[in-house]
């Protein structure tokens, strides 16, 4: 889904690129002063920006799908070149993060920085903090059991790199998240640590900073209730699949143990046979190779399949939190509105803080809905990839297996009848 290889140059004529459309969230004034931004659709019609909700959802509609051409993309990010660093305190891996962009938010058109997992984790936390109305893409699992998985094996590092690459690309393709200044810092800052302390929050960020008010929600809109229900059921299914996968790994490992015993037994048999010595020795070798093939399959399930499942479960946890926050925002609004209505006889205008609440609710709902659609799409891709990957591994395993067996069969069929006759004639 993400662009591979070198990013293409932007189209300079023809349709307007996204950068020409002022983002309602980055230009705070325009969000609160409708009409001043002068948003115009590519086909020339003006955009009604009377409420932030509509403009953000509009923007999301204008947002290019992952699958569409990157012609109007103006931000390309890749994660590559993992390298091991050994210091006295610790050993860790860094990845090169390359950025190519024409956005004015960036000082330079290109960046290349080294980041480690910790930094990605920092970024995700910051995004969650500063963009609480949005669904932040998942990271690969933080902790891996030492001893069970080799953190520095090529396969593990490559799997992680791919997941980190997917993460950044999803952020880069997000119409809101990609403009986040922490993301900017992550991509461009030479030394990330210095930036971590800066408490730069956009005004919008402030305006959506919530205190857990403990307001009671009257009625959750159907679509968000449905999201919540779906996530619960989905988590259940993920849990079941995780358990099944673990069970398969266990059974395969135990089968592997038995398979490993075959080789030595056939070998010791061949040691006291004459004519059957070579065939039996061949079978012994074949069994050893089969063991290796099975070992690879089992390892792959542990290292590639399970982690992705678990990432999704964590991801869904964070999504549920976003849904909760949304409920909170709505509850606050409803409560405040109730209080106002209660005093309606005073004939005062709706206070601005209630209006702000209403805005927040609508903004949140719009962001969430748009992100939900994006999430559904990504989920579909992710699972298609995961499951076809699992199928592929099994296919490869059986192919390896049959190659081993075929070579053993050929050896067995090569019956040296002539040689045998010669050997059997002994002098009186």
């Amino acid at each position: 889904m993400s662009s591979a290889g070198a990013p293409r140059s932007l189209a300079s004529s023809g349709q307007k690129s996204i950068q020409d459309i002022c983002h309602p969230l980055s230009a705070e004034e325009s969000a609160l002063n409708p009409g001043s931004a002068g948003l115009i659709l590519p086909n020339g019609t003006p955009v009604d920006t009377s409420s932030p909700a509509s403009s953000s959802s509009l923007l999301n509609r204008l947002q290019l799908d992952d699958d569409l051409d990157g012609e109007t993309r103006d931000l390309f990010v890749t994660v590559e070149d993992p390298k091991k660093h050994v210091s006295t305190m610790e050993t860790y891996i860094t990845y090169r993060v390359c950025t190519k962009t024409t956005r004015t938010e960036f000082d330079l058109p290109e960046y290349s920085v080294r980041r480690r997992y910790q930094d990605f984790d920092w970024l995700r936390n910051k995004l969650e903090e500063s963009q609480p109305t949005h669904l932040i893409p998942p990271l690969p699992e933080k902790f891996v059991m030492k001893g069970v998985v080799d953190r520095f094996s090529e396969e593990f590092v490559e799997t992680r790199r791919k997941a980190l690459d997917k993460f950044l690309k999803r952020v880069a393709d997000h119409p809101v998240l990609s403009f986040n200044e922490h993301f900017n810092a992550f991509l461009s800052a030479k030394d990330l640590n210095k930036r971590q302390g800066l408490a730069l929050l956009t005004k919008m960020g402030e305006s959506v900073k919530y205190v857990t008010g403990g307001y009671k929600l009257r009625a959750r809109p159907a679509e968000f209730a449905a999201m919540g229900d779906y996530l619960d059921l989905f988590t259940q299914k993920m849990g079941t699949i995780d358990r099944i996968a673990q069970r398969i790994i266990k059974e395969q490992s135990e089968f592997l143990m038995e398979l490993r015993e075959y080789g030595p037994v056939y070998s010791s048999w061949s040691s006291f046979e004459e004519d059957l010595h070579d065939p039996l020795e061949g079978v012994s070798g074949c069994m050893s190779n089969c063991s290796s093939a099975l070992e690879e399959l089992t390892e792959d399930m542990s290292e590639n399949f399970l982690p992705v499942l678990r990432e999704y479960v964590l991801y869904i946890e964070s999504m549920k939190n976003v849904l909760k926050k949304r409920d909170q925002v709505q509850a606050e609004y409803e409560t405040k509105l109730e209080a106002v209505v209660f005093r309606e006889d005073k004939k005062t205008a709706v206070p601005s803080d209630v209006e702000k609440c209403q805005d927040r609710v609508e903004c949140f709902n719009a962001d969430l809905k748009a992100d939900w659609d994006r999430w559904e799409n990504n989920k579909r891709q992710d699972f298609r990839q995961l499951l076809t990957g699992m199928a592929d591994k099994n296919i490869q395993h059986y192919e390896k297996f049959s190659i081993i067996e075929v070579s053993m069969l050929l050896k067995l069929l090569r019956h040296p009848q002539n040689q045998k006759e010669i050997n059997n004639i002994k002098p009186i």
Partner: protein, 432 residues
């Protein structure tokens, strides 16, 4: 080395080195040799019967239908009716015991196992289980075919009657008196004969039998455990089928792909039953040679016994000759009770001595006859046994090689099925 125990010219006993090795040419195993050339044999069916046993108690047992048809008649174009009769396992055992005793130098084909051993958990260890009965049917047919293609055993009358005479066969077998010949010493597991000059070839053969039995037992044990585990791996995949189905219910676009993939996972889980059934054939083939190893060891023991009896006869003869010499020369070289008592209570009278010498003379004559006989027996045994051992070796090498080949083919077909199922599942996943 074949040691010959010979009587030398001065009536003393000598061991001379024998003929080294034997000359033979590689012969192919004929499946259509001997009786099989004339007759088609099969164990077609199995049936449950109930009846009263020896202690008048009700019992359930299985009988097997043996069908035979003369080959010549079939080749003439006419299809004669099959002759058939029913036999139960114990009758097969009786036949085999008869053959063991009557042809001691032969490596007698083994029967399928009496009780299911080396089973993996799903496989029943119950003798009445239909799968076990079916595998036994195949094993019994195999036994008959092996006997029928044996150069010596195939022409045995009792065997022929076993295949053709349902009634009265048991009585006929007992009438041969083979049970008297059956040496109880051989049955005793702890029987050891101290053979002074063991034949190296037979000792090696016995050792080979031990090793073969040990290694095949190990192999069968590993296989049983591996079968259990493999069963588990496949069956757990069936759980994917169920969860994909449940999951598809809460999805929109992904639903169809998941649902159909789930069906393929179910198919995958189900495929293990066939795989393990085929593997069971391989295990049965190994088991046959496990029991053949036993037959080999039995034959080597029989040879030891023959050798032992010869050595006993020789020893007996030697001591008799020694006694003769002592009596004749009046010197007592060896301690004997006779010698002591004669010293204490006086010498014998010349008449008594004469009588004794005469007796010894006859005994020595008899003894020499016996040694000659036993020598001949031993020679005969060794010659025949070694022919059958070579035949067995070839058969074993051929059969085991074939077994390994069919095992490899079976594994390859298992892989093909696996690839197909996962490809089908992959197609469904791609449609998600």
């Amino acid at each position: 080395m074949n040691n010959r125990i010979m009587l030398s010219h001065n009536n003393s006993v000598k061991i001379v080195g024998g003929i080294n090795g034997s000359c033979f040419s590689a012969r192919k195993t004929h499946n259509n040799a001997y009786l099989l050339k004339k007759m088609e044999i099969s164990v077609a069916e199995a049936e449950k019967r109930t009846g009263k046993n020896a202690v008048n108690m009700q019992e359930t047992y299985t009988v097997y239908l043996i069908e035979t048809r003369p080959v010549d008649a079939a080749s003439e174009g006419t299809n004669p009716a099959l002759d058939s009769l029913w036999r139960r396992y114990s009758e097969f055992e009786l036949l085999r015991n008869y053959l063991l005793v009557t042809y001691p130098f032969a490596v007698v084909p083994p029967l399928p196992e009496k009780r299911a051993e080396f089973v993996w958990h799903k496989l029943s260890a119950d003798n009445m289980d239909p799968d076990f009965v079916e595998r036994r049917r195949v094993g019994l047919e195999n036994f008959l075919l092996r006997v029928a293609s044996h150069p010596v055993l195939s022409s045995d009358k009792i065997f022929y009657l076993f295949l053709t005479e349902e009634n009265g066969w048991k009585e006929t077998v007992f009438e041969t008196g083979f049970q008297a010949k059956a040496d109880s010493r051989l049955k005793a597991l702890n029987a050891t004969f101290r053979v002074k000059n063991p034949d190296k070839r037979f000792a090696e053969m016995k050792h080979y039998g031990d090793e073969l039995q040990s290694v095949i037992s190990q192999l069968l044990r590993v296989r049983a455990r591996a079968a259990d585990r493999l069963y588990g791996v496949y069956k757990v995949h069936g759980n994917y089928g169920r969860v994909f189905s449940e999951w598809s219910a809460i999805e929109k676009e992904m639903g169809d792909g998941l649902q159909s993939a789930g069906h393929h996972m179910d198919a995958y889980a189900a495929s293990v039953d066939d795989i393990l059934e085929e593997e069971e054939h391989y295990a049965d083939q190994l088991k046959e040679y496990l029991f053949y190893a036993d037959a080999l060891r039995y034959m080597c023991r029989k040879h030891e016994l023959t050798q032992y009896e010869l050595e006993m006869a020789v020893q007996d003869l030697t001591s008799k000759k020694q006694q003769q010499e002592e009596l004749a020369t009046g010197t007592i070289r060896t301690f004997s009770l006779k010698g002591m008592t004669s010293k204490l209570f006086g010498q014998e009278t010349p008449e008594q001595r004469e009588a004794k010498l005469k007796m010894l003379e006859t005994q020595i004559e008899e003894g020499e006859e016996q040694v000659k006989e036993r020598n001949a027996e031993c020679d005969e045994f060794v010659k025949s046994a070694w022919v059958d051992i070579e035949r067995f070796k070839e058969q074993k090498d051929h059969d085991l090689r074939e077994s390994l080949i069919s095992y490899a083919i079976m594994q390859i077909s298992m892989c093909k099925k696996g690839i197909q199922v996962w490809n089908n599942a992959k197609e469904c996943f791609n449609k998600m």
